[in-house]
Amino acid sequence: MATYYWVTGAGTWSTTGNTHFATSSGGTPTANNPTTGDTVVFDTNSGIAGASYAVTVTTTNTVTTVTLANPSAGTVSFNLGANFSNTGTFTFTSGAISLSTYTLSCNIFSSTNSNTRSIAFGTGNITVTGNAATVWNMATATGFTLTGTPQVNLTYTGSTGTRIIAHSTTAGSVGEVGAVSFTFSASGDAITINNGSYIKNLIFSSGSTNTVANSTLYVYGNYTLASGMTITAGTNVTNLFSGLNQQNITTNNVTLDFPINIGGTVNPTAITGNGSTVTVTYSAAFSFPAVGSKITVANVVPAEYNGTFTVTSSSNTTLTYSSSITGTVTTFGTISLASCTVQLQDAMTMGTSRTLAFNSGTLDLNNKTFTTGIFTAITSAPHSILFGTGTINIASNNATIWSNLSTASTPFTYTGTSKINCTYSGSVGTRVITSQQQTEANALNFYITAGSDNFQINGNRGYQTIDFTGFTGTFGIVPASTGNAVIYQNLVLPAAGVATGFGANSATYGFTFGSATNSQTFTSNGYLLDTNILKQAAGSLTLVGPLTLTSSVSTGQFTFTGGTFSTGGYALNCAIFNFQNTGTKTLTLTNSTVTISGGTSSSGFSGSNTNTTYNLTGSNIVFTTSATTFFNAPIGVFPQVTMGGTGTLNIGQASASNTITTLTNTTQPCTISLLATATQLNVTNFNVNGTAGNLVTLNSTVPGTQATISKTSGQVSVNYLNIQDSKATGGAAWDAYYSTNSGNNTGWFISSNLSNFLNLFDKQ
C-alpha cells in the first residue's frame, strides 16, 4: 500500500526494472515496481526541471490509483504500449493520454476541470469497472480534446447501487467528432447519465436489466437498448442529431416514455460573406454542425445565401461553409441540419403522451412500426420520412397530435406508402391533425382507427386519404381554418349512427377532392355532413354509398369544377349542386337520384353548357325545398326532373334550352316557373299535376312575359294547374283540366272543370 511518484521525465513504466519511481514528489528514484494496492502519481515534479516528458506504459501489474497531471513547465504524455489497469480511480488532471490499440481499465475515471488535456483513443478504449458511484466524471470538459474513436466500456455486471455517468454537458471541443461512445455490459443496477450529456453511441448490451433515469441527452450516434431494461418516464428530451452519420435506433421493445427530438434548426444572428466563404454566427445552444455536416440555409435575403452546403469549419458560435457570396444580408433566415438521418432497426414505441419533434433531416422507418403520442414537424427545414411499408401510430388525445407545416419553399417529402394511424380509443377532448400544405405528391394518408372523442382536420391543407373507419365520435374542420381540407385520394367518414353533422365545429370550409390523376372515392357511411364539398382538378371522384349534405345553402353545397364525378349509382342529397363553370368535366349520375334540398332563384341544380359531358341514364333530379330553387343544365337530356317540395322551381337559362324527358311533381301545391329569357324548355313527358284545392302553378319568372315549353308530338293531359304567362308549343296538344287560366297563355287548352272526356265537347 505505497504511493509512488514518477520522477526524472521520460521513460518506460514496466512490470519490473523501473527506475522512475520515488516515494516522494520529486524524490530520488529507487528500484520500485508499483503493484496491486499501490498509488502512482504523475505531478508537477515528475519532469526534469518541470519539462515535458513521455511515459510509455508496458506494465502488466495492476495498481490501485493513478493520478496524472502535467509537470510544472510542460506536458506529460501517457502512452499505452500494453493494456493497463488500475483497480481504483484514474484521475486525469492534465496532460495527454494515447491509448493506441490498448485498453485503459479503471474502477472510476475522473477528469472534470478546465485544464488543457487530451485523449487520443486510436482504436483503444477506456474500460470502467466500478459501480455504486460516479464511475465516469467528465462533467466539465472545457479544454478537453478527444481524437480517434472515443469508446468507453462500462463492464460492471452486478445489480448494486447507482452508477452515475457525469459526462460533458457542452459539446465544446469534444463536439460530434470527439463525442464518446458508451457501451454498458449486461447488468442490473440503476444508471444515471447526467442531464445535457453529449454522447456518440449509447449501447446497452443484451441481457441488461438496468433502470436508467430519464435525462436530457444529445446523441450523435446509435442508440441501442436491451429488452429487459427500463428508462424511467420523464420530460427530459433525448436529441438525435448527427450531422455526419446515420443514427440507428434499436429499442428492443423498451418504451421510450420521454420526448425525442430529431435534427434541429437555428435562427442565425448574423451571416457574412467574403467571396470565398460564408460565415454564420448563431446561438451557442446550436452547437452541433460538425465539419463535414450538411446544413441547409433558408429564407435568407438575398437568396444567394440559401441552399445546402457542407460545413468546413465550426465552433460554438460560428460555422463556415464554402461558397462565393458577396451580397449584404438583410434577413437572416434559418439554418438546419440537413444530413441528420435516424433509422429504426426495430419497432419504436414512445409514451402515449410524449412528443416526437422532427426538426430536420430524415426519419427512416425502415419498414417498422413507430408509435408516439404526438408528432410535430413545425419546421422550416427540409425533412423527409422514409415509410417503406412502415407505419406511424399517433396515440395521444386532446391536442394537435400531428403537425406537419412545411411550405412549398421548404418541402416535406416522403417515400414508400404513408400510413399514419390515429389510435386513441377514449372519449376525452379534441384531436387535431394539421398536415402539410396542398402538395398532392407529398400528401399523407391518415386513418382514425378508434376513439369517440372530437376530431378536427385543419383546412387549407392537403391529405391523401382520411379514413374514419373505427372512429365513433364527431369530427369536423378546424373552425379557424382558412380553406377546405384537400383530399387527394379517398375520404371515408365514420359509420352512421354517431352524432350527425359537424355540430359545434360546423365551418364554412369543408372538403375539396383535388387530385389531378387519382381515382378518388368518397364513402360517407350515411354521415350527415354540414359542410361544403368541392370536386376539382382532372382526377375522378366516385361515391361509395349515398351522400347527404345539409339542406343549408351556406354549408350544403356540392360544387363540381373539373375531372369526373360519378354518383356511382347512389343517392346524392345536397342543398345545391353547382357545376356552372367552364372546367372540363364529366358528370355521371347514372341510375342515381340527386335530391336538391335548398337553393335560390338562380341556384339549385345549376350546370354549364361548356366543357361538360353527361352520363344521365336513369337519373332523377328531385327538388324538395319549400322556398325557391333552380334547375339549369342546358346541354344534357335529363331523364327526369321532379318537384318534390312546396316551394318554387325555376327552370331555364337565358337564350338557351333545357331538355327534360319527364318533368313531374310529387307535392301539391308548388310552383314551376320557367325562365322568361330562356329559349324554351323541351319535354317529352309533362306529368305535372295538382290536386283539388292544391293547384300547381306553372308560370314565367317575369310576370307578363311568356316562357315557352315545348313537346314535339302527342298530347299533354294534366290536372289542377294554375297557368300564367305560358306558351305551349312544339306540336303536341297541351290540355289542362280542373285548372285556372291566369292569363297570357297560348297553346294551352285550359278547363276549370271536368275530365278529358267531358271536355272533348268543350274543345269542339
Binding site: 443484451s206 434499436t250 428492443n252 421493445n253 418504451t255 432497426q345 426495430d346 419497432a347 414505441t349 402515449t352 403522451s353 419498414n367 417498422k368 412500426t369 408509435t371 411499408t389 412502415g390 407505419t391 401510430n393 396515440a395 395521444s396 388525445n397 386532446n398 391536442a399 389510435t423 386513441y424 380509443s425 377514449g426 376525452v428 377532448g429 382507427t449 378508434a450 376513439g451 373505427g470
Partner: protein, 57 residues
C-alpha cells in the same frame, strides 16, 4: 441475426425485428413467443387510452 416480422391482430399491424446474437440458442417456439410478447406489449399500450386532461381556459 435479424428477424423481421409483422403481426396483425384485431386490425392492428405491428412491424418489428428481433435482433439476436448469432449464436443464440433460442428455439423456434421461443422466438415466436418473443414476437407475440412484443406485439402484446405494444397492443396494450396503443389500445389503452391515457387521457390527457381537458384544460379549462
Amino acid at each position: 441475426m435479424i428477424i423481421d416480422y409483422t403481426i396483425t391482430q384485431n386490425g392492428y399491424t405491428f412491424s418489428d425485428a428481433l435482433i439476436l446474437d448469432d449464436d443464440n440458442t433460442l428455439t423456434p417456439e421461443e422466438i415466436e413467443a418473443m414476437k407475440q410478447a412484443r406485439f402484446d406489449k405494444w397492443y396494450k399500450i396503443i389500445t389503452t387510452p391515457v387521457d390527457n386532461p381537458v384544460f379549462q381556459e
